[in-house]
């Protein structure tokens, strides 16, 4: 197996907590692969993503990207945050431009940087809104700018932290299609945190299911053998899609039911 991104024996324990959040997580991700991490809330999905991003140091074990151990955050692992995290005092263009100037733009001329920002804006179909500030655009548009900002750094791995969680169902579907297009066009490796089963099955090559936290670990990994490009309408009745969906639902609700729910 190609070990492009290699998470090995990773444990994370917060200070003043007796039990680790994540315990002995092992996961190998290949170049260009789209992996979804799914689990109930509180199972440490976002913690896992933050460790890959380098925003959180592991307590034990580690993460290796292309043969180099991760030590702190960097633009090779761009994050799309759940709440978009755009800087409100900058326009859409300036938000992306700041990221470009700081990262890939260092070796570019001014004109090349501008062209690259415009190209990224076009990729998420946000060119007309380039001079708007985040407060002036909708939630879906903000998240598209967030995705564009992450892609503008030409990351080796794109980390999506429940990127569509705060959006309505129609906007979410639209953005999922766009992310699939971008993944097909750029071949970027993607790790996506989600709690939406349909989203995980539709978008990913593999679905990593975490057991309940604390002390969570990888419970099962499901390979989604659906040909790309995928079409949400055609897949809705596809037996392979339904089977994958059922497998994930069965893991989440039968074998590892939400502890908060079962306690209630």
């Amino acid at each position: 197996m190609d070990r492009f991104l290699d998470i090995s024996r990773l444990s994370i324990q917060f200070p003043r907590s007796a039990v680790p959040v994540l315990r002995q997580v092992d996961l190998q991700i290949a170049r260009g692969e789209y992996v979804a991490v799914i689990g109930h809330s509180g199972c440490g999905k976002s913690t896992l993503l933050n460790v890959i991003a380098g925003l959180l140091p592991p307590s034990a074990g580690g993460v290796v990207l292309e043969g180099k151990e991760i030590d702190g955050p960097g633009p090779d692992r761009a994050v799309v945050f759940q709440n978009h995290s755009l800087l409100p005092w900058l326009t859409c263009y300036e938000n992306i431009r700041l990221a470009v100037d700081q990262t890939v733009g260092r070796k570019m001329s001014k004109a090349e940087r501008h062209a690259w920002v415009m190209e990224t804006l076009a990729l998420v179909h946000m060119t007309p809104a380039k001079d708007k500030r985040p407060a002036e655009i909708s939630g879906g548009m903000k998240q598209r700018i967030g995705i564009a900002r992450a892609l503008s750094m030409r990351p080796k791995v794109l980390l999506l932290d429940e990127p569509f969680g705060a959006l309505d169902a129609l906007t979410r579907a639209h953005l999922q299609d766009q992310v699939m297009e971008i993944h097909a066009a750029r071949g970027t490796t993607v790790v996506m945190i989600t709690h939406d089963v349909d989203e995980a099955v539709l978008l990913s090559d593999r679905i990593v299911m975490l057991t309940n936290g604390p002390n969570a670990t990888v419970g099962e990994i499901l390979k989604v053998e659906l040909p790309r490009p995928r079409n949400r309408l055609a897949l809705a009745a596809d037996p392979a899609f339904v089977a994958a969906r059922t497998a994930v639902l069965e893991f989440l609700h039968a074998r590892h039911a939400n502890p908060a729910m079962s306690a209630a």
Binding site: A53, G54, L55, G72, P73, G74, P75, R77, A78, V79, F81, N83, S85, L87, P88, W89, L98, A99, Q102, T103, R133, P134, A135, M153
Partner: protein, 287 residues
């Protein structure tokens, strides 16, 4: 279904144009009147009540009509200058504003710099915060004797009182703003490796700007409160001394006119700083 069918049929397309043209145009004057009429009415009622209460033989304060008659020159000509301290209100206000401008400018620079230091360095915060919390409760005028003793001159003493009064809210608000830069922005900066001065200029300062301007706005208000009191004691040209001088010559009408001007100028100062803040934070203060 029945509810839908009872609706009137939509008008044919060619009908919609003349219909739209006949829609009532929203008046531009109505909202202006709506915001102007209530204060004017209340003011008229207030003046009437004042006139009534101050007209009796036992009244100690002059009614508005007497203020108008007594201080007609003062109200209508703020620009006269007969030498010495016998000047129009404009000159007194200008002298006070000059002191405030100088004292407040020093307070703004020193306050923002100190606030940035306290906000970024836990050591500076632990060391300085308790001292500041005590000092900021000292009333402005209590500093005056000390500053007179130190500077031995009225002008720098008054400016120092302005400075020491307005600097605390600027320091405290700046420090809070810097400490409250959202973790989201810090994460973004970490991912794109924005560090050191670039992190400060591109993330910390814009994120703290709304807090800084809140501090400046409180500061300018306190400055204006302090200058009037300080000038009463130090003398010279200035609106505070003008009030004190009028009191000593039992000129109550002049005092009332001066107070109205003090209020209007204070209001204008507050609005100017608020406007500067809105422009500088480019409308993100609310976001």
């Amino acid at each position: 279904m029945t509810a839908v069918s009872t609706k009137p049929a939509p008008a044919p397309a060619q009908m919609s144009r003349p219909l739209l043209a006949r829609l009532p145009q929203p008046s531009r004057i109505t909202p202006v009147l709506a915001s102007v009429i209530p204060p004017v009415m209340i003011l008229a009622v207030f003046l009437g009540l004042w006139e009534f209460l101050a007209s009796g033989p036992a009244a100690t304060l002059p009614p508005p009509s007497k203020v108008w008659a007594d201080s007609y020159d003062l109200i209508t000509d703020p620009f006269f200058d007969r030498g010495g301290l016998d000047k129009g209100l404009f000159w007194h206000l200008a002298a006070s504003l000059q002191r405030v401008a100088l004292g407040f400018a020093i307070a703004g620079i020193a306050g923002i710099l100190t606030g940035l230091l306290i906000g970024t360095s836990p050591f500076a915060m632990r060391g300085l915060d308790p001292i500041f919390q005590v000092l900021r409760t000292v009333p402005p005028l209590a500093w005056l004797p000390l500053s007179l003793a130190a500077f031995r001159e009225a002008q720098p003493s008054a400016i120092f009182v302005i400075f020491i009064t307005s600097v605390w809210p600027i320091i405290i608000n700046t420090a809070v703003g810097v400490r409250n830069v959202p973790q989201d922005y810090r994460n973004v900066a970490a991912v794109i490796r924005l560090r050191g001065p670039a992190f400060f200029w591109k993330i910390v300062l814009p994120a703290a700007a709304p807090y800084i301007f809140t501090g400046l706005r409180i500061g300018i208000g306190l400055s204006w409160l302090a200058i009037v009191a300080a000038e009463m004691l130090i003398g010279g040209v200035g609106i505070g001394f003008f009030v004190w001088d009028a009191w000593n010559s039992s000129n109550l009408s002049d005092i009332i006119v001066a107070l109205v001007y003090v209020g209007l100028v204070g209001f204008a100062l507050d609005r100017i700083v608020a406007l500067a803040g809105r422009l500088a934070t480019r409308g993100t203060a609310a976001a």
